[in-house]
């Protein structure tokens, strides 16, 4: 048997024994992601359409990455980067960002103010939904604290209003599709543009000072069997 030099063996041992070392490896590999989403997936100040990634459910992040690759989501920069990645690699990327602490942030002070009626309407949609139009409460799926549910439902906290409004537009026109049944497509169809703007603004005004993580899978049962609930967790 050929003899390996001692430093190589030591190095291999270190690599095998230290998961932290592997983590450092992946951060370096994802320099392209960091350019927009931040070195630790914290997002970028002043970039409304580039969301944070840290602490989002791994299954959710994987579905989005695979969606950009497979045409269920439309964003040229994202598709450009992930188009030749296989599932295993995308799952690893998703798991990396999911494990990072969710971004803490204060309420978006720059967000437009809501009139008392719009505020009340937004809160009602978030907490109770709109039965007449078949819209469930946001909190029914995204959780009472809106921090999301593993493995497939993300937090709605910490997102700029313009980003949320843009996503509703994508759901409405089919350029953002989730696994079937695609519940958010139905919600986006049922809500008026005014309601979407009001909810998005209200959400952007909530703070997430405690860096709340998504609830563990099964912590509560959403009212509809959405495809997002079938998202597969980390590898």
């Amino acid at each position: 048997m050929p003899r390996l030099p001692a430093p190589a063996i030591l190095f291999a041992l270190l690599f095998a024994l230290s998961p932290a070392f592997a983590d450092d490896g992946i951060a370096e590999r994802l320099a392209a992601c960091a350019a927009c989403h931040g070195a630790r997936g914290e997002g970028m100040q002043g970039a409304e359409y580039v969301p944070h990634l840290a602490g989002k459910p791994a299954g959710y992040l994987f579905e989005q990455l695979a969606g950009f690759r497979d045409g269920r989501r439309v964003n040229a920069s994202m598709t450009w980067l992930v188009q030749f990645a296989d599932d295993a690699w995308l799952r690893e990327i998703a798991a990396y960002y999911a494990a990072l602490p969710p971004r803490t942030h204060a309420a978006d002070a720059g967000a437009a103010q809501l009139t008392p009626e719009r505020r009340e309407r937004a809160e009602r949609l978030v907490r109770e939904g709109d039965r007449e139009h078949g819209v469930p409460a946001c909190s029914a799926c995204h959780g009472p604290d809106l921090a999301g549910l593993e493995p497939g439902i993300p937090a709605t906290l910490g997102l700029p209003a313009d980003y949320v409004v843009a996503q509703f537009g994508h759901w409405r026109n089919g350029s953002r599709r989730a696994r079937e049944p695609d519940c958010m497509h139905g919600v986006a169809q049922a809500l008026s543009p005014q309601d979407i703007r009001a909810v998005a603004t209200w959400l952007s005004q909530q703070s997430n000072a405690q860096s709340i993580r998504p609830a563990p899978a099964g912590a509560f049962v959403p009212p509809a069997r959405c495809g997002a609930l079938d998202a597969e967790a980390a590898p």
């Binding site: 490896g25 992946i26 370096e28 590999r29 994802l30 320099a31 392209a32 992601c33 960091a34 350019a35 927009c36 497979d70 045409g71 269920r72 040229a76 920069s77 598709t79 450009w80 980067l81 992930v82 188009q83 030749f84 990645a85 296989d86 295993a88 690699w89 690893e92």
Partner: protein
């Protein structure tokens, strides 16, 4: 002179011209293959449908990369609709699923072989976006197994959008004219036992990207594997010949084809797609056969020359951008980091006569193909939001002067003209 005499004199003058024109047309028509390509065969001929045949067909269809061109992102496999941008407009790939009305479900084996070989279907002559000049080399038996495999795929009733072409290219008859001017079928097929050449110049249709194009998108023999700008998309494909591939050993090149990565760098742009969709399925033997063949190809007459004098370009604005934006990964001497970041010394981005690949990589970065060779590839960040067009021009000029021996003089305007991500 009476009118009659004038007409007679004119006729005497014109008749030889008309006859000469007819003779030339007849000769050109004969040279594009004569009438045979336009006679679509009829009648059924059974092809084998056993599991071995289907598996063999799946492999060959993968190497021919049928699916990549005949599928739109997120669409049903082989159902067509992918857009191909050409100098004369946009051509959409067709539905080749077994649907009899919208696909090729009612094509006989002979008709399928005829279309693959001649580029003429029952709808008329096909646009040469479809590489029939290459597929003409595929052996009968291989065409049969490919069809057998395609017939096992789910039928789709999807209809691709109509082509958007400028006159006269929008007419299928104009394609007969194009064939007369530019299409010269080979007299003999490649021997399938000459495996590397058979795959490269047959199913693999490598020359569709790696050759210099002639007039009206033609592929003249003197440009074969000379390298050039790929029509319709902002990428340059390098020459494929023994000079270009000198830095690869046969085994390195074979591994590169299957994994998209090598000590000299990773596949990017359209080649990354080819590795991802097609070449990673190559058997080790076929990959080696292709590598051996390519390393023997003689440089084509139209091949661009290698650069002139290398220039260290020290102290230039581009050298400063390089030092703070690129050197951490690619090394201060462009040597790269083995297993992580490719060297710029000798890279196509630096040495090519066309700067487009370097500019696009700096603008938009990239993630190499995830394959068995490198399942967790290192990515390159996009610099479009960190460097302005002038800085990008400067740094690309720097790396091309320094490691490509190119007298590169890109301007900010050149960089701006290359902006825009094409993903379809």
């Amino acid at each position: 002179m009476s009118l009659r005499r004038i007409l007679f004199a004119l006729a005497c003058l014109l008749l030889p011209c008309v006859l000469a024109a007819l003779a030339i047309a007849a000769m050109l028509f004969a040279r594009q293959g004569g009438i045979e390509p336009f006679r679509i065969p009829h009648g059924e001929r059974a092809v084998a449908t056993d599991a071995t045949t289907i598996a063999s067909g799946e492999y060959l269809a993968r190497i021919g990369n049928c699916r990549a061109c005949h599928t739109v992102r997120g669409g049903a496999p082989f159902a067509g609709g992918r857009a191909f941008s050409t100098g004369i407009g946009t051509v959409y790939s067709t539905n080749i699923t077994p649907d009899p009305a919208h696909g090729i479900g009612d094509w006989s084996a002979d008709e399928f072989a005829h279309v693959m070989r001649h580029g003429v279907s029952r709808r008329g002559a096909l646009y040469p976006v479809f590489p029939y000049a290459h597929f003409a080399n595929v052996a009968d038996a291989d065409l049969d197994v490919i069809l057998a495999y395609l017939r096992t795929q789910p039928a789709s009733a999807s209809t691709p959008p109509p082509n958007r072409l400028e006159p006269p290219a929008d007419s299928r008859r104009a394609l007969v004219g194009w064939r007369m001017l530019h299409y010269r079928p080979e007299a003999t097929r490649i021997d399938p036992n000459d495996r590397g050449r058979y795959l490269v110049d047959g199913l693999g249709h490598c020359a569709m990207c790696h050759s210099a194009r002639g007039e009206r998108g033609s592929l003249p023999p003197e440009g074969h594997f000379a390298g050039g700008r790929i029509p319709g998309i902002g990428w340059y494909a390098p020459p494929l010949d023994r000079v270009q591939l000198e830095r690869y050993s046969e085994q390195q090149l074979a591994d590169y084809l299957r994994t998209g990565t090598s000590a000299h760098g990773s596949a990017y742009g359209p080649m990354a797609e080819v590795v991802y969709a097609s070449l990673r399925a190559l058997t080790p033997g076929d990959a080696l056969a292709i590598a051996r063949h390519l390393k023997q190809v003689e440089p084509a007459p139209l091949r661009a020359t290698v650069g002139g004098e290398a220039n260290d370009d020290a102290g230039s604005p581009g050298a400063q951008v390089y030092a703070h934006a690129c050197a951490d990964c690619h090394g201060k001497d462009g040597e790269g980091k083995p297993g992580a970041y490719p060297p710029l010394q000798g890279s196509v981005a630096a040495t090519a006569p066309d700067a487009t690949n370097a500019v696009r990589l700096v603008l938009y970065g990239g993630m190499p193909v995830a394959t068995a060779g490198e399942p967790r590839p290192h990515t390159m960040p996009p610099f479009v939001q960190r460097l302005d067009a002038g800085e990008i021009a400067a740094v690309v000029n720097h790396l091309r002067r320094r490691w490509g021996a190119r007298d590169s003089r890109l301007t900010a305007q050149d960089v701006e003209s290359m902006q825009g991500i094409v993903v379809d």
